[in-house]
């Protein structure tokens, strides 16, 4: 690959130019929305042209802060996403260790069942799942928002794979000292799995935060909306686009936490998202 580093050929330059142009197209909607979110609605009524020309205003953001429901939705999203992440890490780590490192009757059959569960899409079970939660009178609760996603097997498979790669000698020494399996798991194996925990944790958090279909059908009371569902509910009267600056500020406000998370944990997020469907 040395030729690449010395003088670049015309082909390489053209390729680079094409990709940079495409990147500009990719960024344009976001830059446009962020820029216009700082402009007064009265100006946006007439023109959405220059994003760099004054007047600027923070009014659109102040209006969001005044609309008290947004904070409630953000709190709901936070509770649901953290709850789902912590429970997924605990349950998937235990199960992953069980499948990877311990033996018990029926283990292989159960593991095949877990693998098969990968093929089941959310849409195939959402109607009966909704009926079950309705029968248990659990809709519009955090339990209903958190628990159903714990059933999807990605986390268990990821942790199984990770635990399989840890050398068994580490545990064998501890087991010879008559430490219990559970103690070995919590004291020795779990601390070794922190990189995998980070990947799975970020992946789970992101999915929970962005989830749309299940929260839409389960949380029907506005007070229990997550941010994703709540924002969608505010988009319905879009035809009368008087306050598009306000709408843009909403998009920025809701997207910012996730984008910041992304910039800090990019490597984990990319590997988790890209590894997800392959396993």
């Amino acid at each position: 690959m040395r030729t690449w580093q010395r003088g670049r050929s015309l082909g390489d330059r053209l390729l680079l130019a094409a990709v940079v142009a495409l990147a500009v197209v990719w960024l344009a909607p976001i830059i446009w929305v962020v820029g216009l979110s700082f402009k007064p609605n009265e100006v946006l009524m007439h023109s959405t042209g220059g994003i760099l020309t004054p007047p600027f205003t923070l009014k659109n953001y102040v209006d969001i802060l005044a609309a008290s429901s947004v904070f409630g939705w953000m709190l709901n999203s936070t509770i649901v996403a953290f709850g789902q992440t912590i429970l997924t890490l605990l349950i998937a780590s235990l199960a992953g260790y069980g499948f990877a490192r311990t033996n018990f009757p029926g283990r292989n059959a159960l593991f095949v069942l877990v693998l098969a569960a990968l093929a089941v899409p959310e849409q195939a079970i959402i109607v009966p799942l909704h009926t079950m939660f309705a029968a248990a009178d659990l809709h519009n609760t955090y339990t209903a928002l958190i628990v159903p996603r714990l059933a999807f097997p990605f986390g268990v498979l990821l942790m199984t794979q990770y635990f399989r790669a840890i050398p068994p000698e580490i545990e064998e020494a501890a087991l010879l000292d008559r430490a219990s399996r559970l103690k070995v798991f919590f004291r020795i194996v779990l601390p070794l799995s922190i990189p995998a925990q980070a990947t799975l944790g970020i992946y789970t958090f992101l999915h929970a935060w962005n989830d749309y279909f299940w929260p839409l059908v389960s949380a029907t009371k506005p007070a229990m909306y997550t941010l994703t569902v709540g924002l969608a509910s505010m988009q319905t009267n879009f035809a009368q686009t008087e306050g598009i600056g306000f709408l843009m500020a909403q998009a920025v406000f809701a997207g910012l936490p996730v984008l910041i998370l992304y910039l800090f944990f990019q490597r984990h997020i990319v590997s988790a998202v890209a590894g997800g469907p392959l396993k």
Partner: protein, 294 residues
Amino acid sequence: MAEVGSGIGQSRWTNALFVAPYMLILFGLLIVPLCLGIWLAFQDYDMLGGWAGGVGLENFQNLLDDRIFRGTVRNTIKFVLMTTPAFVVLGLFLALALNNALRRSGILRTIFFGSSVLSVTIVTLVWRLVYLPDRGLLANALGLLGLPGVDLVTSQVWALPAIAIVTVWWIIGLPMTLFLAGLQQIPPELYEAAALDNAGRWRTLTGITLPSIRRTIVVVAVIEVILQFQLFGQALLITGGGPDNTTRPMVQFIYEAGFRDLQLGFAAAASQVLFALMLIAALAQFWAGRRQGA
């Protein structure tokens, strides 16, 4: 669990306790609903009228006779056919460009992957603003070129492609990343041999690169077909299924039948049709990929 036997691999019932919490959840919240859904598909059951007994294949017959449902199947398949090739071709193009040791590839990768982390609500909100017929970003860009603005979202021809564009913009990061991983596994010796042969760029691409990542291409295509069959939020939030049902996808049909009209048996039957179509499409592609390889 106090006593542990000598061998680490010894089979013990107590070890099953590690997997018990997950297996209970898997059973109760995935396997039971799946079976219940299959059963429901053969029942006359709606939330208001209650359960009126088994009806055999009547729900499926009604789906076949339902003009709107047939339309949603058509729209969904059209959407899959629009987006999957776009994801494969554009994803591969980006991966090839970023893989070639271009200096700023880190920043470019961050940009192309970044939109994937946003929720469907934010993505559709941004794009509805972009698509505004008079003041949207698209209208502004067309105006610069001296062209009149168009209202894609209310056009029977353009509404579905407009949703496809949003979808490609949203999640191109996944195919791009999968292709990058595939490209990085090609042994460098293959390229060195090609360089000795003075093989040109195009011949290297078709002779070495593409054959080496054939498996990745199949995997990306299968993943995208499965993902895009599940089109829902973008259509619901951008067009609501209109104009004249030309963008209503199957999942929106399930949503409306099950959660608005409360016809649970009918909605469950539609879910089974979607599930079956997804499995058939994925298996067909795996089969085609394998035949090509033989």
